[in-house]
């Protein structure tokens, strides 16, 4: 019981972090982007609020971002509680004429944690927290299914086959989730739902393998025969899957991070690697979702045992 409480608390806490922690950039990025567009989130500390001067019907105060860049932030009115050294996440518009940053809205005051603003991604960078764990699990579930398939062929125990099928079922679920989340995201970031990037091809192959696996299972009525044939097919399919999942997306150029032509721009994968704060949340959710998978697999195993007791197959 205790580990279930821990697991769900863990997933809830880190999912909340993944969704709630504000994304904030620096003044450089605002300057590089220029004017226009939606207001840009910036994390800035206001060391001395008393240095503020009235500009029009607002108040301009000097602020420092995380890289030490200084700029003048123009609040529409004196914000409440401007105490020394407070940190704000504000959405700002650049003003080309006066070189001031006009605050459109205050997102957060004294945030415990912020994620970096990645050019071209912004809030959409949060996909990494859910998309990566689902894609990871769709492969892990395949390996677990393969593992139980092999142990069925060695020991011929019905439970192994049930676990193998249950794991494949969960794998198919996570595979669909990874495809759906990635595809929706791609529409907004890359312009179309599907681009045949090598990673997309790999998840497509995995979907085909899962589909074929269940087509085979539904075609055979005899339980023993079904178990043997699906285990054999799982092993045979594993000949082609690693080629697509582990090799092709890394040696061919593509849109996903980690492709051959990824020059490591931006703090996602590559060059400097992923930002520390994002990395912690992503790995925590990876662990959490893997725990969720093993819990679901245990449930499937219990259902199988209970049904076997009642005399169903």
């Amino acid at each position: 019981m205790w580990w279930k409480t821990l697991l769900f608390t863990w997933i809830a806490v880190f999912s909340a972090m993944a969704l709630v922690v504000p994304v904030a950039g620096t003044f450089d990025a605002v300057r590089a982007r220029g004017c226009g567009g939606a207001p840009y989130p910036v994390r800035a500390t206001i060391p001395d609020p008393r240095a503020g001067v009235h500009v029009g019907n607002g108040i301009a105060v000097p602020a420092v971002d995380r890289n030490g860049n200084r700029a003048m932030l123009v609040f529409p009115a004196q914000p409440d509680g401007l105490a020394d050294g407070r940190t704000y996440v504000v959405r700002v518009w650049a003003d080309s004429a006066s070189r001031l940053f006009h605050v459109a809205s205050v997102v957060s005051i004294d945030p415990l944690w912020t994620f970096p603003y990645i050019a071209g991604l912004g809030e959409r960078a949060r996909i990494i927290f859910f998309h990566v764990p689902t894609a990871w699990l769709s492969v892990i579930a395949f390996l677990v299914s393969l593992w139980y398939g092999v142990s069925y062929l060695r020991r011929r125990r019905g439970e192994d086959d049930a676990l193998s099928a249950a794991s494949a079922g969960l794998g198919l679920l996570f595979c669909l989730l990874a495809t759906a989340t990635g595809s929706l995201w791609a529409k907004f970031n890359w312009g179309s739902f599907w681009n045949w990037d090598p990673r997309e091809t790999s998840i497509f192959v995995l979907l085909l393998v899962y589909g074929a696996y269940f087509a085979l299972r539904s075609a055979v009525e005899d339980a023993g025969k079904r178990a043997v044939l699906s285990a054999v097919y799982g092993i045979l399919a594993f000949v082609s899957v690693p080629f697509f999942i582990f090799i092709v997306p890394r040696v061919l150029p593509g849109l996903h991070p980690g492709s051959a032509d990824d020059t490591g721009s931006g703090p996602i994968l590559g060059g400097g690697g992923i930002d520390m704060g994002m990395r912690v949340v992503m790995y925590a959710l990876l662990v959490g979702f893997t725990g969720l998978f093993s819990w679901m697999l245990r449930l499937a195993d219990r259902v199988h045992r209970l049904e076997a007791e009642r005399g169903h197959d």
């Binding site: 192959v205 043997v228 082609s240």
Partner: protein, 240 residues
Amino acid sequence: MPRTVLSLFPLRDGKRRIMTIHPALALLAKDFRGEWRTRYAVNTLLMFIVVTLSVVVFALAGETLTSGVQAGLLWVVLFFSAMNGMSRSFLSEEERGTTLTLRLLADPSAIYLGKLLFNLVLALLLNVFIVLLFLVFLEGFLIRQPGLFLAVILGGGAGVAAATTVIAAMIARAGSKGPLFPVLSFPVLLPLLMSGISATKIAMEETEWTLALPELGVLASYIAVVVAASFFLFDFVWKD
């Protein structure tokens, strides 16, 4: 290795010449003889290829195609005729009710080898025939590097035969579920198809043949891995 006694061909006086040969070769000879008697597979496959190709030709009459599209079309025809041809190897035994006899006569590795050899010969013949028809009927189908092209087409045939023999056995065990065959084969064959298509494209263009070296490497290693895996897996499929 167990050896089997097989009467290969009857002599004129009605007596049979007795030979000892490896059971895999005996199975291969049996399959060829069975095929020679009915010519069922050959006739069906030839007609299938002609039908498929005429659809392609009707649809594309007068069009000029890039070598990429031509390579893709060639592989579509190669894949689906292989799907028709390869599935028969074990289904025919089920249809004739000879599976149990085979199981008694020889050990699984010999059965697998015999069927693999038969499928290999069939796949190579199929591929050569398809390419010949493409050359005759598809205008603008030019092979600029014949050596590379031949290597890819024959290697592709060998790969298809290697990967699908054990799947054909699975289909036969699954209660002769023929339509399942391409569904199961496609994900397993994809690395072969992708490297085959891209190597074919290179062979049809005027480029360095060395550009296709990675594809040929994938092809060779794919065949090795698939044959090794199915050699061990066949035991489980074949035995009850």
